[in-house]
């Protein structure tokens, strides 16, 4: 009897497990209601979002989708444009990003795409969007050449090629730097592109590069590289890393007695660095479009709303996503209707749009035009580097 009972029970529980995993595997969620047609004066638009929601970089996807959702709520409350977001997970993988994009593009009611999160993903999704004639805007893709993929490809994230030279120049001026060491993640397009920029800037400025060291994503021991750097006594360390790895690198460096300042790229710029590395984060110099402590009523209002909604401080990924949706809304309003081609034209005409990141314009390629602020971490806080 017991055996008889056990078998169906087992198969049912297996079936349930399969069902459960099927549900969670490809999560697609739709927020808001309505279709993409024009009702009265309100422009209804459906926008697809591809984000890194599961996997090692899920923290980015979380911040980004939070930023979108917050902006969506505000824009829809205003009543001029009504936006629906269809959110798809890319898991940080090219092939999954592509299939998510294809799924979204085949839906004719979707007027534009936001995302994907990584530049690697954008390199495969961008050309596909170009082919289908759908505007796509990256909110966190900072590698070189992204907007040059095609006329439908935009971004509102400050490219490394603009941010890094600003911060290196300032750091070199203030600390009279002569020798630099470079440390970067060599398994990611983003950190690799940051490294290329760093190396070029250092060479152009006539700095001596004492060594170039690499690491891989998710590594936990950087002592070997750091000991080597310590022995070569650089005045400044250029570190192209995402904050998760970067914070641990700084912590281990400070423990070892390396106390020279670090210059980081965009991915290094997060309040999380201070949370993870604590005191060791002091001396990190970054150039950023986003400065949370800026005394600007718009920025402060965003901080408050974000913290109230998600119980944590917004980082630049949330801020860029938030602004991106506002840019989309503005363009939709100017375009007058939810049409892919009209939206593309309207996006290109965006000029000096006041957002939480500052005044924003697109150049002819669909790339960012704006001035970054250089920040340094001091006493556990980001401060303007003067």
């Amino acid at each position: 009897m017991r055996k008889l009972f056990k078998k169906p029970f087992l198969s049912i529980s297996i079936l349930m497990l399969v069902l459960l995993s099927a549900c969670s595997g490809k999560s697609s969620e739709t927020t808001g209601e309505g279709t993409s047609s024009k009702e009265g004066d309100v422009i209804n638009a459906k926008i697809g979002v591809i984000s890194y929601i599961t996997g090692p970089g899920a923290a980015y996807g979380e911040a980004i989708t939070n930023g979108f959702k917050l902006a969506q709520k505000e824009i829809n409350d205003k009543g001029e444009v009504n936006i629906n977001l269809v959110i798809e997970d890319s898991a940080g993988k090219q092939e999954e990003a592509l299939s998510a994009a294809q799924k979204l593009m085949s839906d004719d009611s979707i007027v534009a795409l936001l995302g994907p999160t990584l530049s690697t993903e954008m390199n495969v999704v961008g050309p596909e969007a170009e082919l289908n004639g759908i505007p796509i805007m990256g909110t966190s893709t900072t590698a070189e050449g992204i907007p040059q993929i095609g006329e439908y490809v935009f971004r509102n994230s400050l490219p490394e090629a603009l941010a890094i030279p600003t911060s290196i120049k300032k750091a070199v001026e203030k600390n009279s730097v002569k020798k630099v060491a470079i440390l970067y993640g060599n398994d990611d397009v983003f950190t690799k592109s940051g490294f290329d920029t760093m190396k070029k800037v250092a060479e152009d400025m006539g700095l001596e590069i004492v060594t170039i060291e690499t690491f891989q994503k998710g590594q936990s021991d950087y002592n070997a590289q750091l000991t080597k750097i310590k022995g070569l006594e650089p005045d400044l360390i250029l570190c192209s890393a995402l904050y998760n790895e970067g914070a641990v690198i700084m912590d281990q460096a400070r423990k070892m007695g390396v106390d020279v300042p670090f210059v980081g790229g965009n991915g290094f710029n997060s309040p999380q660095v201070i949370e993870i590395a604590g005191k060791a984060a002091d001396g990190l110099i970054v150039a950023t479009p986003w400065f949370g402590d800026k005394e600007n009523p718009k920025v402060q209002a965003f901080n408050e709303k974000y913290e109230a909604e998600y119980k944590m401080k917004p980082d630049q990924f949330a801020a860029q996503a938030y602004d991106a949706l506002y840019i989309m809304a503005e363009a939709l309003k100017n375009a007058g209707e939810a049409d892919r081609d009209k939206l593309k034209e309207a996006l290109l005409e965006i000029k000096d749009l006041e957002g939480i990141l500052g005044k924003f314009s697109f150049d002819k390629d669909g790339d960012v035009v704006m001035d970054p602020t250089v920040l340094i971490i001091k006493d556990g806080k980001f401060k303007v580097f003067e």
């Binding site: 090692p56 970089g57 060291e213 690491f215 021991d221 070997a224 080597k228």
Partner: protein
């Protein structure tokens, strides 16, 4: 500089060795490669973070809690993923491997949900204690890691060779049916093995957290793969082999960075392993005939 790098290498190698000891124990007795071991190790590290950083309790409680939690995880792994497959007709010998891979994915995703995706710092006063010799900074944790790994190896060897439970365990490893006919409670021995191996993973987790100040849900995977490579290098199911293999891998990785190019770190380390295996296919301490000899 060289001395510092050697200390780095020995620290890393000792951690690899402790992880590999857990692997090799389960392999020696059950003949199963436990792919979930890395994730159990990661859970141990997270328990350490929660106890010391979040709750602010002393370190020894963290060790105790990590041993208990990872021990329970090991028990559950045995009950849910391994025992149902054991001794059944028609079950492929690869089935337990796959079910432990399943368990590892489950544990990784679980820790994503419980702890979040980012790195967690391991703040503890003990991890800050250091000595300064010239320009070299040595942390007490680094010495502790080495000492613990050596102690674990010695205790494990003694336990396996000299005690009754250890003999029962080796008998089970030799042949389950015969051992069980001769009065060994093989079920209990197997549970004991998996639990001890998991608890060792938990200890390694806390040590890594303290040494590198970085704990995240992905740390289990790379550590698990390295552990696997080490037991193949040292000889499957061999305690001394796991220790030697761990140190070789840790030191070679560190020295490649110090005197070569850090981009080739893993490549050269694994080429070393391939070369050693070409010369000694059974691993450094492995025996030619039986897979599970000790």
């Amino acid at each position: 500089m060289l001395l510092e790098q050697l200390i780095n290498g020995i620290t890393l190698g000792s951690i690899y060795a402790i992880v590999a000891l857990g692997f090799t124990l389960v392999f020696g007795v059950l003949g199963i490669i436990n792919m979930a071991h890395g994730e159990i190790f990661m859970f141990g590290a997270f328990i350490g973070v929660i106890i010391t950083s979040t709750l602010g309790l002393p370190l020894w409680i963290a060790f105790l809690a990590a041993i208990i939690v990872t021990g329970i995880l090991g028990y559950m792994l045995e009950r849910v993923a391994l025992r149902p497959l054991r001794g059944k007709q028609g079950v492929s010998h690869l089935a337990p491997l796959i079910s432990t891979i399943g368990a590892s994915i489950l544990l990784e995703n679980l820790s994503h949900h419980l702890f979040g995706a980012g790195n967690h710092p391991f703040r503890n006063a003990f991890a800050e204690i250091s000595f300064q010799i010239g320009s070299i900074t040595i942390y007490l944790v680094q010495i502790l890691i080495f000492v613990i790994s050596v102690i674990l190896m010695i205790v494990l060897s003694y336990w396996l060779l000299k005690t009754k439970a250890g003999k029962a365990l080796r008998a089970t490893a030799e042949n389950i049916e015969t051992a069980s006919i001769l009065g060994v409670n093989t079920k209990r021995i197997i549970i004991l093995t998996v639990v001890i191996a998991s608890a060792m993973g938990g200890i390694a987790g806390i040590l890594v957290g303290m040494a590198f100040n970085s704990v995240n849900p992905q740390m289990g995977l790379s550590m698990g793969l390295k552990g696997l490579a080490i037991i193949i290098l040292g000889g499957m199911g061999n305690v001394r082999g796991a220790m030697a293999g761990g140190l070789i891998l840790g030191l070679s990785e560190t020295l490649i960075v110090a005197y070569g190019d850090s981009g080739y770190r893993d490549a050269v380390a694994f080429i070393t392993i391939i070369v050693i295996l070409l010369l000694r296919p059974q691993g450094l301490f492995g025996q030619k005939t039986t897979a599970a000899g000790r």
